[in-house]
Every structure is written in C-alpha cells, then in structure tokens.
Amino acid sequence: MPQRAILDHEFIDWTKSSFQLLENGLNGSARLPFHGVRKAAVAQFAKLGLPTTRDEEWKYTNVLPIFKNQFALANQEPVVAKNAIDAFGFEGLRDKMIVLVNGRFSKELSTLAIDDSTVKVGSLSDAIARGEKAVQEHLSRYADFNSEPFVALNTAFTLDGTFIHIPDDISMPHPIHLCHIVVAEDAAAAIASPRTLMVVGKNSQVHLIESYHTLEESAHLTNAVTEVVLEQGATVEHIKMQLESKSAYHIAASTVHQAEKSCFSSVNIDLGGAIVRNNLNVVLNGENAESHLYGFFRTTGSQLIDNHTFIDHAVPNCESNELYKGILDDSSKGVFNGKVLVRQDAQKTNAFQESKCLLLTDDAVMYAKPQLEIFADDVKCSHGATVGQLDEDAQFYLRSRGIGEEKANSILRHAFASDIFERIEVAEVRDMLESLVFEHFND
C-alpha cells in the first residue's frame, strides 16, 4: 500500500523534526541520563514506523486515519481556568486531584496535598531532574519501546507526567486521582504524551484513578504510557477512565510489574474517543501474586475501541482473573484481544478470562480474540468469549412480569454493565459511573 508508506515516512519525518524542536527546548535537562532513553526511543520509532493492519497485533485497528491529521506537539503551557477542571473531579474526591494538561503536571490546578513527607506524588519531570532513585530504577524499564511503536513515540516525547512513590507499609487513606486533559489551541491536532510511573512499596496500598478528558472537541491524540510497580505484598487498584470527546484519538499502554504476594486490580472504562487502543500488560513475577482485570466499553456512532490485554504468568502459584464487557451500538467497532501466557515454570497457575459483548445493531462489529499460550501442565486455565444479544430467558421473565420490551432491555443492559462497575472499590467512582452509564442507556 503505497499511500500507507508515504504517510508513514511523513510521520517519521515529523517525529524527527519535532524531536529536534523538543531537544532544543530542553536546555540543561538534555544532559540528564533520561534524555539518552528519549533519543533511543525516537530512533527506534523511526525503525518501527506506524503499525499496519498486517501486524497481527493491529489486525483489526487501522491507525491510519489518525495520522491523516496534521499534528503538532501539544502546547506545554496552555492556560486553563481552574473551574473548568471541577467538572472532571469526583464528588468527594475533588481535593485529591493531580491535574495534567497536555501531559504536563500542573501545580496550579492540582488539589492534592500530601502531608506525609515520605509519600511522593508530583511532577515526573521534577523527579527525573532530582535524580530520584525510583525513577532511575524503574522509568521505562517495563514499557517496551523496542517493539511497541506507540510506547517508543511516548518515550521520545516524555517531558513530564506523574511520579508516585509510596514507600513500604503505607496504606493510602484516600485515592489519588490523575486527571488528564488535552487542550488544543491551533489548527494542527495536538499530540499529548502523558507518562505515569507509580512505585508501590512493600505491603503498601493505594487506589489510583486515571481519567482522560477533552476540554474542547478536537481531533487530538493522547498517547499515554503508565508503568506500575508493585513490590512484595503491595495492593493496587488502578481505575482508568477514558472519557474524551468522540473525535479524540487515544492510545494507551499500561504496564504492570508484580512482585510476590502483590495484588493488582485494574478497571478499564472506555466511553469516549474516535479510535481508542488500550494495551494492558501485566507480568506476574513473584509467587502468590494475583491480578484482576476488568473492562467495560460502550460505543456509539463510528467509534472504534480496541482492548489488548496480556497477562504473563512467569512464576508458579499465581492467579489471574479477567472479565471484559462491551456494548456496541450504531456502526461502531469493538476489539478484544486477551492473551494469557503461562510459562514453563509457572506451575499451579490459575488463569481465567472472559469477554462478553452485546451488539445492538447489524452495523456494529465485534472482533474477539482470546488466546491461551500454555507451557506448564499443572495449571487451570480457561477462557470464554461470547458475542450476541441479551439473554432471551431473562428478557421473557421481565416481560412476563409486565415490564415493556424497551425497558426490559435497558434494565438488562444496565445490569450487564453494572457487573463491571460493582467491582470498583472506590465508591465515588462507582457511583459516578453508574449514573453516567445509566444516562447512556436511557437516551
């Protein structure tokens, strides 16, 4: 496809020149070791280029339309009114917000104040400049820019983001809410490259909420990378909510590294975006660790939402549980690709995966590809995938009690989604989602 190649070259050229601009603006921080990583990443991106639908991992998601736009690196310091942010906060958690504008930590807009001097929540760029030990140890160690083009792109343009370090034996008394907003000012579409690194120490606990919003309707690209490290016995709930405008593009890679006895649970909610791709990679690298991955998406119009998850059981005696659900309307498209790898040493693994999708129209399309790759024999693994409609028996039962067909369907759809929301531990988020999605079903 020659058209494809031109676009690819154009975009790679754009990346190189944008990187040059970025480098020129770095001043002193270009001497920091992390800049070497950026350079390696930009070179790697030039090698990898944009993925095409001929790549197995991108078979159903064509990113081409995104790059037909003229892009510009997002303005690093746009002016955003404080009250504009309020709408994105959760009732009861508005003072727990870290706000990132175009990927950049905003001290003015953030409301979270941490009393504990050992807990660190703040600007990633500051942490890099400080030479923070945890940053040196972990940043860019898990998100693989050698094979993932969009991770390379993010890494090349990582200027700032969020750094969270919770030392050992601390149970955070409240959730941390990272609120990402993109503000496009020029005609050119903005690319924001937010980066998050969270390191959670031994036996510590935290709930992290990442929400993504658009201030004004624009065809921007959010290309986010999040790395989460769980040390021994750590417990993390990571809620990611993508609520951007229907013309936004969103590509996100979350990479999670778990030590023994740690427990990670992820809830991934997608309601916005024109083309959305989430990669969630979890490595279970210590025994008796467990992971719970939940996801829900609801698409309308011509949205495309693609969730790729990869659970790597590298050691024995771990457990993973996964449930993804989607409801597709109009001519939207959904993709679920869930891979579970059980390595040769990972005996006594329990891995369960399920995906369920509802198609509401004949123009909606669902592609599901659940995969198991098993190299150990003493394991219990299963996956299930269903695509279809609401349970007919349940529909009949509701109708036989006098509930009209439309209403019965709306109740069942809501129940279908609630199944995921109920698993969210942060009540403020759960309540907000329940009402948000309820509106969706009654429109």
Binding site: E56, V342, Q344, Q347, C357, L359, L360, T361, D362, D363, A364, V365, M366, Y367, A368, K369, P370, Q371, L372, E373, I374, F375, A376, D377, D378, V379, K380, C381, S382, H383, G384, A385, T386, V387, G388, Q389
Partner: protein
C-alpha cells in the same frame, strides 16, 4: 522420551518433574514407542526430474494425458505461486523447504492397463495389505470402498461397479479428468481457488492424483468411501487433490487415512480437499492422519500443509469435518466450511495429538453467510513430549447472516511440562442476531484420576490411555465405528511413553 533427552535433566530434577518411579517408567515407555508404519516398499518407480518449473508441469500434465484446460489451470497456478510468499504466521517452526530439491512426480511403474483389481502389482497389493487396507474386494473392509493412493498416484479403487449402479462416481482424480472433464472443470478450484494460499497454489500446479467423488441428486451413498494415502518414495512431495460433489439431497461419508515410511529428511505433503454440498446435501469427511512424525529427536517426518474446505452452497446443506491428527512433524491445516445457503450446518471435530518434537497448528474456519446457519467446533488438543500444539480458528458472521449460531469448545491437555498448548480463536461478528460462544480450557491428566484407576487395578499407562480417550470421546463418536476403534488404538500408540 529418548535417552538423550532424559540425560538433559539431572536425576533429582527429573524426579520432581515427573513424580513417582512408576510414572517415570510409563513416560519413558510412551515416548519411546516406534512408528509402526515406517517401512518402505521396494518397487520400480517412474519419476519426473527433480525441481519445479513450467517444464515439469507440462511433463505432469502430459503424463496424465490431460485436456488443455487442466494444463492451463496448472500453469496459471504455478505462475501465481511464484509470486507468493510462504506463510510464516502459523505457530510452527521448521527449516526452509527447498522447493527445487524435490521430485514432483513419482508413480509406481505400470506395466499395462489394469483390467481388474486382481492385476494390481502384487507388491503394491502387499503394501496396502500390510497397512490393513485390502484392495482386493474379497478381503475388503466391510462396506467401505477404497481408493488407494501411493506417492500421489491412485493405485486402485474398489467397488466402482457397485457404486456406479447408484450413479455414484468414485475414482482417482486422473480418471475423473479423463472421463468426467466437465465435472472437474466445473468444480476444481471452486472452493479452494489456486490463489488461496501458498500451498494450495503449489498443489494446483503440480498435483498428480487424488480422489474424485460425485454423488448424484437424492442418492444416499450405500457405503463409506475412503482414500488411503501412502508416501513411499524418498525426496518426493505428495500433492494429492480430492474433490467431492454432493448434489441436491445426496449423502456421503468419506474417510481418509495416511502413513509414510520413516525417513531422516522431511517430506512435504501439500494436499487440497474441496467439498461442494448442494441443497440439502450432507457430506461427512473423516480423517485419521498418521504421517510419519519424525523420530524422538525430531528428525525427519512429514510437513503436512493441507487446505481443506467445503462449501454449503445451497439451503439446508451440511458439512462435517472430523479429524484425528497424530502424525506429521509439522501440521498446518484448517478444514473449513463456508455456510452460504440458509439453514446450513458446519461442524468440526478434532483430536490433535503431538508428541516428541511434533508441531501442530490446526483448527477451522466457519464462515457464516446465509441465514440461520449453525456451526459447532469441538477441538481437543493433547500435547506431550516437547511438542507444540495450537488451535487456530475463525468464526466469522457476515452482515447478512441473520441468526447465526456458533458454539466452540477448544480444550487442551498437557502431558509433561516441556510441551506447549496454544489457543488462537478469532471471532468476527457483523450481525447483531448472532450468538457466538467460545470456551477453552487447559488441564492435565489428574493425579487423582490416575490414582483412582490404579486403585481399581489399572496400570498408569492404561489409565492415561483411558483418560485421554475419554477426553476425546466427543470427537471419536463422530467417526464411523471402525475408524473410531482405529483412532483410539492410534491415540494409545502415539501416546505410548509420554506421561507426567
């Protein structure tokens, strides 16, 4: 497991991994079993020169006295093949195949035209007798008509006259080209076009024989039809082609079996099977694939790259694939059904067993196009030794396929911890009324199950045989009785010595 392989593990490790002494011995015994069909027949052969070019294709076509349309089709396929790349997406690894270093035509030399089956070269007859496939009708398998194919050439077809009474045509592909060119011309490549994939293109260019079967309207074939494939010659690729056409309301059950000698070099088998089922027709196609799998070190064995596809052309047609795959070094095979007519049914039942260094990437494609189409996929993968076993399947529901139903169950059983089981199902749904369900599980032969059997006086090896056969029962019950018994035995033999 071979002695050499066992040496790789320090004794203590070995104990840990494989448990009790008795289980160890069983594992050893099972992995050491010999391939029992590995002998060769010494018979005078006629071969084309090594290599592949247009001249060879002219040679093959000429040898077979083919009409012009066949030669043209072959040449088109060959030219297309030259532009294609060998697929690398399957989850298998093998050395590059040198397509120029193989013979593309090998046939047992014929003395004269045969007047009856009794005139078949005694050596050939012996060969098939030894394989348990008698081509003299007196000693026939009860109620099974056989087309015996050795090194790409049909040797004999039994019961032709009996079948002809019903208007059924069952003969070698070469004979069909001579006697029924209009049927061949109409249907060849209609389900698997030569452009379909690399191996299908190669087969289309060089196929030398195979079986042809035509069931006329309303006829229920009175006996099982069967093709037995045997590779004998060295350095020869086997490229046979099977075409089955079932007219409106017809029914046929078709069986296929295969073996090959033990040779150190890998041999390529790239076959194509096409099935056309017209309105209300039903075709059942069963395969017991037992090509030479290579030795315990992974040396030799057949590369089995096969394209099998059926089309339910019209309403209420049904195509059912059942396969028991125990042989071949590398298998790449996805018997598929295109459900074009309304109310059509596609089925795929598969047992794929890999041991030692075998690799299998097999599964099916169910393409739902018509309304109220149904498909069922039951796949049982068993991996032992150091083998890799993959299920790869596609269920696609087209935009106009109202009320499509699919149920897939893909289970994997691992025996030992040096093998791998992989599941790659693809679900593509374009219609909201579809109901698609896929389930997959991975498990092992439970120690408690073995113990339970032991306690009732059953040896560990037999217990594993019983348990594995039980695991495959859903598939075996789809096979014709005699084949089911054969398949069970084959499974036990292939498993001999592989347990953890």
């Amino acid at each position: 497991m071979s002695d050499a392989a066992m040496k790789e593990l320090p004794k203590s490790d070995y104990d840990d991994k494989f448990g009790s002494q008795e289980q160890q011995e069983t594992i050893e015994r099972i992995t050491k079993s010999e391939y029992k069909w590995g002998w060769t027949t010494d018979i005078e052969m006629e071969t084309a020169p090594k290599g592949l070019n247009e001249e060879i294709i002219h040679f093959i076509s000429q040898k077979k006295n083919e009409p012009a349309f066949m030669l043209e089709w072959r040449l088109k396929a060959f030219r297309h093949w030259q532009k294609m790349e060998e697929p690398r997406w399957p989850n298998v690894q093998y050395n590059n195949i040198d397509y120029q270093n193989a013979y593309y035509y090998a046939a047992p030399k014929k003395q004269k035209q045969l007047k009856s089956l009794d005139e078949v070269d005694p050596k050939l007859r012996e060969t098939f007798d030894k394989l348990g496939i008698s081509i003299t009708e007196q000693k026939r398998l009860t109620g099974v008509a056989v087309d015996a194919v050795m090194d790409s050439v049909s040797v004999a077809t039994t019961f032709k006259a009996e079948l002809a009474k019903h208007g059924i045509i069952f003969c070698s592909f070469s004979e069909a080209v001579q006697n029924h060119p209009e049927l061949v011309k109409k249907y060849i490549g209609s389900v698997v076009p030569y452009t379909d994939n690399f191996y299908a293109a190669l087969n289309s260019a060089v196929f030398s024989d195979g079986s042809f079967c035509y069931i006329p309207k309303g006829v229920r074939c009175p006996m099982e039809l069967s093709t037995y494939f045997r590779i004998n010659a060295a350095n020869t690729g086997q490229f046979e082609r099977t075409l089955i056409v079932a007219e409106e309301g017809a029914y046929v059950s078709y069986l296929e079996g295969c073996t090959a000698p033990m040779r150190d070099e890998n041999q390529l088998h790239a076959a194509v099977v096409e099935i056309v089922a017209h309105k209300g027709a039903e075709v059942k196609y069963s395969t017991v694939q037992n090509w030479y799998p290579g030795d315990a070190e992974g040396k030799g064995g057949i590369y089995n790259f096969v394209t099998k596809r059926g089309i339910c052309l019209d309403d209420n047609a049904k195509i059912s694939w059942t396969q028991v795959e125990t042989g071949s070094a590398v298998t790449w095979k996805y018997p598929s059904v295109i459900l074009k007519g309304d109310n059509t049914v596609g089925e795929f039942y598969s047992v794929a067993l890999t041991n030692n260094f075998q690799q299998a990437d097999t599964g099916t494609k169910m393409i739902h196009l018509g309304k109220n189409t149904r498909s069922t996929i039951i796949s049982k993968g068993i991996s032992a030794g150091k083998s890799q076993n993959s299920y790869r399947g596609l269920v696609r529901v087209g935009k106009n396929a109202e009320n499509a139903r699919n149920f897939s169950q893909c289970d994997s059983l691992l025996i030992g911890d040096r093998c791998g089981a992989h599941t790659f199902p693809y679900l593509e749904v374009h219609n909201k009324s579809a109901k698609i369900e896929h389930e997959a599980t991975t498990s092992k032969v439970g120690e408690d199950q073995i113990f339970y059997c032991n306690q009732r006086g059953i040896s560990t090896e037999d217990a594993i045989g019983i348990i594995v056969n039980g695991y495959c029962k859903e598939v075996f019950k789809e096979l014709p009785m005699e084949f089911a018994v054969e398949a069970q035995k084959l499974l036990a033999i292939s498993l001999e010595g592989s347990v953890g």
